[in-house]
Symmetry: C2
Subunit: 359 residues, 2 copies
């Protein structure tokens, strides 16, 4: 485990697609959404601890989640929690963490990862991370982890490799292009071609490589954060970030850097992955009864199938005649929604916010 | 308002058909199931107060509901609450209250009524009660209130009048027979014939008339309670009832007395009535939105129709794509059940009781 290896865990998301379990006050990454006894953030942190020194793991999140992070990761030190005073998407988030790490260790090699994804086959994941860190530490390339598609998924972005290679597991190839979420027709073509990989949002690079890329493609952002080199790890860091961060433009690392850089590679990852982006994708990953109901605790089910039911502890529930529904109760909120209509949940949440001023 | 008029309100039911709103610990009569701000028991009591002296209104219920009755009817005196130590159906319940009233007032005329029914057009109800009390106080007949059917309902018992009369509103006729709940084919014949009336379970008689009827048709019950003539309204009443009541057989007043007596009359009532026996019958009586959803508070509804939704205060609910369902949440319990399957709720409740030892 190299002392120059670092990890940036992005934990600032406030998605409403898992409402009402995930709410603004406690979004998905802070929940034990899989019922394993650990939150997604805790799982992510403990996964990286096996390959990266604990003290080199940084959490970037909105400042309203400071207490949640301290509570869920009790061993973490103050300087490892980077607090965003505003939401500005992934590019400013990564730039802040990168320039802070570089102020301490110019030889850093860094993994950037979301905090709220599902990773199965962890040993292979760790192997891929080690291989990736080894690759980037010996070159100036930017690396992303690509997942071999198992279905023509329309909910993910895709990465196309150059020269139409079909990669072996663990192989690394040059990226031709990043694509947005495709239509189902396009997704089928991607899936069958073999040269497209799901974009996992997990990136690896040397600190110097990504700083060069920021300088080349998002200079205004890199200028803002390089100006803080003297304040990182000091009492003035917070005030500096409070001032600078909100002035950054709202832009993703994919759009701002990865799609523009010409030194991007993809590692064909072998582990099982889901971004757990929707109730439907969670349903796919949960264990189910013989009627294909995924329930998180005892429910009295009659004539009911293909439901995802998530209820708080102590709730007694009888469900009869319900098929293909999402039923979620959390504290003061109850959601009953057809599985096929779950993309509308964010609109429902907006209606609730308009009425009650909260979700 | 005659000082010899009395009322016996039966409030001992523990039906599970309104589960989970109605539970063993707090059944339907103690709930504000219509959302009016008053429980069904309170509504029943206040309705009779307009035609019967308050101090002559007696509540008979299971002893586990003593506190609920005192809480909901704060003006009531101790001797007006008659507590059953065991459930024994309506005949022993009515016999107990009758012999107690007769020990105080041998000239009593008595109305017996359930505590958990819905009465609309209250002025007409009161008029019918006055007319009925006048009729029974001047004769030795037993009178029941019959409701003119508005549909071929299979959930009610029917009363057939003699000589195939079609009664005018408010008219009184001799009863030919009491019938059990009919099949739909029979109910249609009853409905079309015009000589059948819904059995409302509201009875009127002189105390002497019903005592005579008990003596004639249920002598073992009348002997038990007449033996208590000296203890009613004394400190020994409770101990006497504790001993005697559980030894009574479990039998209804309809089966034990009314069907056997030959001096039974029916008053053709003009008010609107429902026994509120099921969620479906409640749904019929509730006001509904343009999609025919009956909800007891703000619910965010999308693509949903014909639902009955009853949620506790403060619950935020989003319901999408649900049609013809009953959704009820109460404290720690959630029920989602198709409207057409509501007769199975009592079986669901049994399953819950077997698992948790409570409902």
């Amino acid at each position: 485990m190299s002392k120059n290896y670092y990890c940036i865990i992005m934990a600032g998301g406030v998605g409403s697609r898992f409402w009402p379990l995930s709410k603004t006050q406690k979004p998905k990454q802070f929940l034990d959404i899989l019922g394993t006894g650990k939150t997604l953030l805790q799982q992510t942190y403990e996964r990286f601890e096996q390959v990266i020194p604990s003290e080199n793991i940084y959490i970037v999140s909105n400042k309203i989640y400071k207490e949640l992070i301290e509570e869920q990761l009790p061993g973490i030190q103050n300087h490892q929690i980077l607090l965003e005073p505003a939401m500005r998407n992934t590019a400013p988030c990564i730039a802040y963490a990168t320039f802070k790490i570089m102020a301490k260790d110019p030889d850093a090699s860094i993994v950037v990862a979301p905090s709220d994804h599902l990773i199965l086959k962890e040993e292979i994941f760790l192997k891929n991370i080690r291989e990736g860190l080894d690759f980037v530490s010996k070159s100036n390339n930017l690396l992303t982890l690509g997942i071999k598609p198992t279905r023509p998924e329309t909910g993910y972005g895709y990465i196309q490799v150059k020269e139409g290679q079909i990669l072996k597991n663990g192989a690394i190839a040059e990226v031709k292009t990043f694509t947005e979420k495709p239509s189902i027709e396009i997704a089928k073509i991607f899936f069958e071609s073999g040269e497209f990989y799901w974009n996992s949002g997990i990136f690896l690079w040397k600190g110097t490589s990504i700083v060069d890329a920021f300088n080349a493609h998002l200079e205004e952002v890199s200028m803002k954060f390089s100006a803080g080199n003297d304040v990182y790890f000091t009492d003035n860091e917070e005030a500096f970030i409070e001032e600078v961060y909100p002035t950054c433009k709202n832009i993703s690392i994919d759009y701002g850097v990865m799609e523009k850089a010409d030194n991007v590679y993809v590692l064909c990852a072998e582990f099982e992955w889901s971004d757990l982006g929707t109730w439907g994708s969670l349903y796919e990953k949960l264990s189910k009864d013989e009627s294909l109901n995924a329930v998180n605790r005892k429910v009295f089910l009659y004539d009911s199938s293909n439901n995802l039911i998530n209820l708080p502890e102590g709730k007694i529930a009888v469900v009869q005649g319900l098929n293909d529904f999402i039923v979620v109760e959390s504290e003061d909120t109850l959601l009953i929604c057809r599985k096929g209509e779950e993309q509308r949940i964010k609109h429902f949440v907006n209606d609730v916010r308009l009425e009650y001023g909260k979700d």
